[in-house]
């Protein structure tokens, strides 16, 4: 990526074809221009904007921040928060913390997998649901717990989790 041509623009154009408008990220890049140690913050802002961080975008950020692409990819893959693949409309974060494990989170995972036919890290073909196992959400006394798009569901049972998913599906079907 180190060249004197117009490759930042070329990269931006290529990203736009994939629905990623890098101009939205420019205010963040401006804000942190020259601020040392702000790479993680920039990546967080980018993921907030686009939902995920495709490798082309990481390369673009590398160009703009003067980092090596390998370093940006290294940071993005080190932390659990960053996703290199797009996620479904509903991101199911299933807690696999100790308290949830002791109180049966594996059974909840099996129920979700059975109902949606996806495994940890996968997205349903209709693009609605992504299942992500996460470490402790910090709601241990309500275990087992899952969080879907910021809303926490506690004291889950396999039956209850299917009800929640079914109601979300119903809501989507209605919206159509």
């Amino acid at each position: 990526m180190s060249c004197c041509c117009n490759c930042a623009q070329a990269s931006a154009d290529a990203l736009l074809k994939n629905g990623i408008d890098v101009s939205l990220l420019q205010p963040t890049l401006d804000k942190y221009a020259g601020v040392e140690g702000s790479l993680i913050t920039i990546l967080q802002a980018a993921q907030e904007l686009y939902g995920y961080l495709p490798v082309e975008l990481l390369n673009y950020i590398a160009l703009k921040t003067g980092n090596k692409p390998a370093k940006v990819l290294g940071v993005a893959t080190f932390y659990a928060q960053f996703r290199l693949e797009p996620v479904g409309k509903y991101l199911i974060m299933l807690c696999q913390g100790t308290a949830c494990h002791v109180n049966g989170s594996e059974g909840i995972e099996a129920a979700i997998s059975e109902y949606l036919n996806i495994k940890d890290g996968e997205t349903t073909p209709d693009g609605l649901f992504t299942l992500n196992n996460v470490a402790c959400l910090g709601c241990c006394s309500l275990s087992p717990v899952m969080m879907i798009n910021g809303e926490t569901y506690g004291s889950l049972t396999p039956a209850k989790v299917k009800e929640v998913l079914a109601s979300l599906q119903a809501k989507e079907a209605e919206a159509k």
């Binding site: 702000s38 913050t41 967080q44 080190f78 928060q81 308290a99 109180n103 910090g138 709601c139 569901y153």
Partner: protein, 582 residues
Amino acid sequence: MKMIVGKGSCGIAAGANKVSDSAESYIKEKGYAIETSVTGCIGMCYLEPIVDFIRDDGTKTTYVMVNAETIKEIIESEMKGEVAAQYEMPEVDKIRLERQTRIALRNCGIINPEFIDEYIAKDGYKAIEKCVTKMTPEDVIDVIKVSGLAGRGGAGFPTWFKWNAARSAKGTKKYTICNADEGDPGAFMDRAVLEGDPHALIEGMLIGAYAMGSNEGVIYVRAEYPLAIERLNIAIKQAEERGYLGENIFGTNFSFRLRIKAGAGAFVCGEETALIASLEGERGMPRLKPPFPAQSGYWAKPSNINNVETYANVAWIINNGGEAFSAMGTPDSKGTKVFALTGKIKKGGLVEIPMGATIKDVIFEIGGGIKNDKQYKAVQMGGPSGGCIPAELADTLIDYKALAATGAIMGSGGMVVMDETTCMVDMARFFIDFTCKESCGKCIHCRVGTKRMLEILTRITEGKGEDGDIEKLEELALTIKSSALCGLGQTAPNPVLTTLRYFRNEYEDHIYKKKCTAHQCKNLVSYTIDADKCKGCTLCAKNCPVGAIEGSIRNPHIIDAAKCIKCGKCATSCKFDAVIVD
């Protein structure tokens, strides 16, 4: 009259927002003169949502497990001047609260964390005022030394010593850092302070910064705590507006700026050098010590890192004196400690107790004992770096040394209670699975060793354990302990070592008898039907998802072991207790 809804993350998860929405629209509709407010977590998560009513004469009633409908009934009663007794907090739970000594959690669940005036009304920012106007930095360090305050993040290192080291370190710029990357699965003490009393943390950091001669601070919060970040941001802004943060605090030449850095999800970033790497925007990989952060930390400047709970104690100590704090506890461990009580416990939540209580006190007196009155088996303390303490050691004191002697650690305060249905081999597998995924990969023994341990533990729980597996686990565990660079790696084998120490028979049962006495490991459990007890009701056959149960009505049924997937649905559906799980 004032209505206060408990809105910590756990309260919100239990439906506190629905309660307050319902209450507010009801109050508006009826035109009642009730002021509404919110507060953080009081620590009684099993009773959420919790709502307090404070009447004009100052009396207060706490209502528990409130929902969007019952809140209306409660409002009606309160307006008539009556207590809605059926929803009031039971007496036993009030006692549970009274038995605690709340210092770090002094304001949690009491004040509104989004209004600085409520914190100020509780003597807030008095301690920093005293420090900067009446005490020298050395005086402050002396008070902390007398208090015996030690790092609440797990290691238990004396706080005054770290502050003193940072104070004496040469360098123009020094950083005061707060580790709020509470990553131990099963722990949420820091979250309660961040969400419920953010100003207590800010004041603690201010005092630390004054003592060390630092003028810049950073709070590293895990990204999984969005509400904590939001409330901290509000608190910092308010403190800046009032002049508690910024230039020339209280008209002195002490200045301090504070900002938040959101983590991105990596357990290892709880280790201080990894945290510094992450603050600098790098992969959060630990660095070799020395140099210690107090000499060369963030941007190679002297840096002091303390945990949230440690800082939250500081203002109280300055206001009440070091002796008041050291009067509590044991010769080695002073003051109080906050624990997050979870797992197979009746009354889970946060508790703050003086050091020197016993494990039994916490689990049975405050926690109400084991869920469904099952047999207490062990408690896991210190998260993935800690260990399992068996029931027979329930009289162990809450004390850094006493807990370390069991093979576990005080840790940051996670206490996961286990009963007879918890398989200890599976527990060890769970923790190694966690540390294996969270290993940063820098040291080979941690990166590869935890993976090999996980493979062995997995095969044991699957019924494929072999003779010699226990010895291999021990060898790997000791090698990792002695050769990993950071605290995460060195302590990663602890859950395996402690379960081997206290529950070796369970490992042996799994390997040699192919039995899991807790009936957790599916491959080692078999389901049969007791022909004498079976009434032939057909319920089990109807519930079996794979059609493995045969039999005609009113005749004993039989499970086809070859078809059985061991889901356990037959056992839970049987009304006559006829399914034998072995």
